[in-house]
């Protein structure tokens, strides 16, 4: 069974997500195996693309000349980016499993890890947009991809975690609530770090 799901993860989920969710519902994969074979590689893509893009072109915010940073700084930022994604991924999987009992969903941690991987995969692949590090371009690319990911979350939970669609809808909304809070925390944390003197030179 585990071999079967491994055939679906990665690319086939992109064009046959429903079948992947159905296959996932029949299996009980090892969380570590899913993470080490798939999730971690996907999580590496955004920091990698952003390093290459920022090194070659510099970040464009609109009003200014491209913001060019030294390779050492870029490496630090990319490592921080990777760790943040890792934390976001792991905490979402843990919270998802924690919510499962409230919504009568499967408590198999491996399935939660696989589900979050499938949901996050389009975003990880779309981070290829970081190769052209213009903030607006990245926003325009990421928004439709994010809507697709939300669609995967709402359709995936009831099938993969075997709960009625209505309970799945509630669980997906609760997870969206968590992800929104996590996203806004990241913004706040970034601004707090800027104000504390890390990152760009600001007159605060």
């Amino acid at each position: 069974m585990e071999e079967k799901i491994s055939r679906y993860l990665l690319f086939r989920t992109l064009y046959e997500p429903k079948i992947t969710f159905e296959v996932l519902a029949e299996t009980d994969p090892s969380a570590w195996r899913v993470f080490s074979s798939y999730s971690v590689w996907l999580l590496l893509l955004p920091p990698l693309f952003s390093w290459i893009g920022a090194y070659n072109f510099g970040w464009r915010l609109g009003a200014s000349e491209p913001l060019v940073l030294t390779p050492a700084t870029l490496t630090l930022i990319s490592i921080a980016y990777f760790l943040t994604l890792l934390f976001g991924f792991y905490s979402t999987a843990v919270i998802s499993r924690w919510m499962a009992s409230t919504y009568g969903a499967s408590s198999s941690f491996g399935r939660h890890v696989a589900l979050i991987t499938i949901v996050g995969q389009p975003l990880a692949l779309a981070s290829v947009a970081h190769l052209f590090p213009n903030v607006f371009f990245n926003v325009v690319v990421m928004i439709p991809v994010m809507i697709w990911s939300m669609y995967l979350l709402y359709t995936g939970i009831p099938v993969a975690l075997q709960t009625p669609p209505e309970r799945g809808m509630l669980m997906a909304s609760s997870l969206v609530g968590w992800l929104l809070v996590a996203a806004v925390s990241l913004l706040g944390l970034t601004m707090g770090l800027w104000a504390a003197g890390f990152g760009p030179a600001l007159g605060v």
Binding site: G62, A63, P164, S173, V184
Partner: protein, 481 residues
């Protein structure tokens, strides 16, 4: 409990509720359209065609006042009147006064809006209307209080249900804030000056401004949530005790949070710190209510199958969670120093206004309208389409403003090698145009959904009379002695 028999049957005054809902929807469409227009003006400034009344400075307060006082307050009056009758088991007290309030309030919003277009403006945010309107608001608000508390005082059931505590706090606190903040010296019929000056004026203004957000846009709508969510879900509230604790904690802590609007301004630093700390404390009662709401709806999941309206309420809770977390975070001074004066603030306001206020109201209206006229909703499919439009519009709006806000925060404060600010206002603003384009699109999507709802309600209620409902017999165990 008194067992008096009345010879004539008494009915709830639901016709007033229906009319207020209709007015609320009409204001939603108009004020959101004004919002879309001002969003377009930020992209194409010449849209004002050289007309002062079409300028951003006049239309923007029309948008905010139309949403808060037209859409929001009409919705709060409608739902307060509907629920206070049912939780007190008596028809409205002073129904003629309630009818007067229903129409006079709309006239006030309309004439107030026109005065803003004419350029009459006190320059206080969310309190822009000039002194004649301020007096009218105070009088009408007192009428609201008489009808609401009069109904409660005649109640046939002993406990005062939690939604009424929130509506009651809305009426009392808004009256206090409105009167204190609008103490002013009239100079002419169209111009007055505030009684306060300088930093004092700013503190009073944001004590008003933030608590208007607190007790009207949060507390009032929590009243709506506490009545309509359990009704809708067919389940009692998950923890009644938690709701009462959350109410008092909310009421106590909110009132102190205003100074976070004035970080790094000419007000004492301890006042800023107090505002910040109390804003952080506020997270506890806000999320207690969130948990109560989520757990109540979690046990009623079967209902989602047949009821598109409940989806709005579920999603409104997610955005309520976001907005009430984001607010305290933005009140932290080291975050605020970057986020203040950026579009992130506008995004935050709209995650609350679109995601929380509008969605909970839409969910409630979808529940109310068919029941008020005793029929099914004209089209569940349209309501479902509306749900996805509302979600897409809100998400697009928030993300566009997050990206714009973070970029602005960085650009406003960037220093060049000589230690001077690196960018001018005009350069930064012109670079925001693409985000403003996304925001305009988001507004159009959200407005489109609201129009679908208005059409759905028109088709649901047209040529149908309001159902007459009699108060049920009160269980003697809970009756007023």
């Amino acid at each position: 409990m008194s067992s008096e028999m009345t010879t004539q049957p008494q009915y709830y005054h639901d016709e007033i509720v229906k009319r207020l809902v209709q007015f609320s929807v009409a204001w939603a469409v108009l004020a959101m359209a004004a919002g879309v227009f001002v969003a377009a003006e930020l992209l194409w400034p010449t849209l004002d065609m050289g007309q002062p009344w079409l300028s951003f400075g006049r239309l923007r307060p029309l948008h905010t006042n139309g949403i808060i006082f037209g859409f929001g307050v009409s919705a709060l009056m409608a739902t307060a009147f509907y629920s206070v009758q049912r939780t007190s088991h008596v028809p409205l007290f002073a129904p003629k006064l309630a009818w007067f309030l229903c129409y006079a309030w709309q006239l006030l919003v309309l004439s107030g809006g026109l005065s803003l277009l004419a350029g009459m403006n006190t320059t206080k945010e969310y309190a822009e209307l000039e002194w004649p309107f301020d007096i009218a608001i105070a009088l009408l608000w007192v009428s609201f209080g008489i009808v609401f508390f009069g109904t409660i005082s005649r109640r046939k059931i002993r406990p005062i249900y939690i939604s009424n505590w929130f509506y009651g706090a809305l009426i009392i606190v808004i009256a206090m804030l409105h009167i204190v903040n609008n103490l002013e010296l009239p100079v002419t019929w169209t111009k007055s000056y505030s009684l306060y000056a300088g930093a004092q004026d700013a503190i009073v203004q944001w004590w008003y401004g933030h608590n208007a957000v607190g007790f009207l846009l949060t507390g009032g709508f929590l009243g709506m949530l506490y009545y309509f969510l359990p009704k809708h879900a067919g389940r009692p509230i998950w923890s009644y005790k938690l709701s009462v604790v959350a109410f008092w904690a909310f009421t106590y802590s909110y009132i102190w949070a205003g100074p976070h609007h004035l970080h790094y301004n000419a007000i004492p630093e301890w006042v800023q710190s107090l505002g910040m700390v109390m804003s952080l404390v506020l997270l506890a009662p806000s999320w207690a209510t969130l948990i109560n709401g989520v757990m109540t709806v979690s046990s009623a999941w079967e209902k989602l199958k047949t009821d598109p309206a409940l989806k709005f309420i579920v999603l409104s809770l997610a955005f309520y969670g976001l907005a009430t977390f984001e607010g305290p975070m933005m009140a932290i001074r080291s975050v605020n120093v970057v986020s203040h004066f950026t579009d992130w603030t506008i995004g935050h306001v709209h995650s609350g206004a679109l995601g929380w206020n509008a969605m909970i109201t839409y969910g409630t209206f979808y529940y109310l309208m068919p029941r008020l006229v005793g029929t099914e909703l004209y089209s569940k499919r349209l309501a479902n389409v509306h749900f996805w439009l509302a979600l897409a519009g809100t998400m697009l709006y928030i993300i566009a403003m997050w990206a714009a806000g973070v970029s602005q925060g960085l650009l406003w404060l960037s220093l060049d090698e000589t230690g001077e600010l690196a960018f001018g206002f005009r350069d930064i603003m012109s670079s925001m145009a693409p985000y403003y384009g996304l925001r305009l699109l988001a507004g159009l999507i959200f407005l489109g959904g609201t129009l679908l709802m208005a059409y759905n309600f028109y088709m649901t209620t047209r040529s149908r009379k309001t159902v007459k409902v009699e108060p049920p017999v009160v269980d003697p165990a809970f009756g007023v002695v």
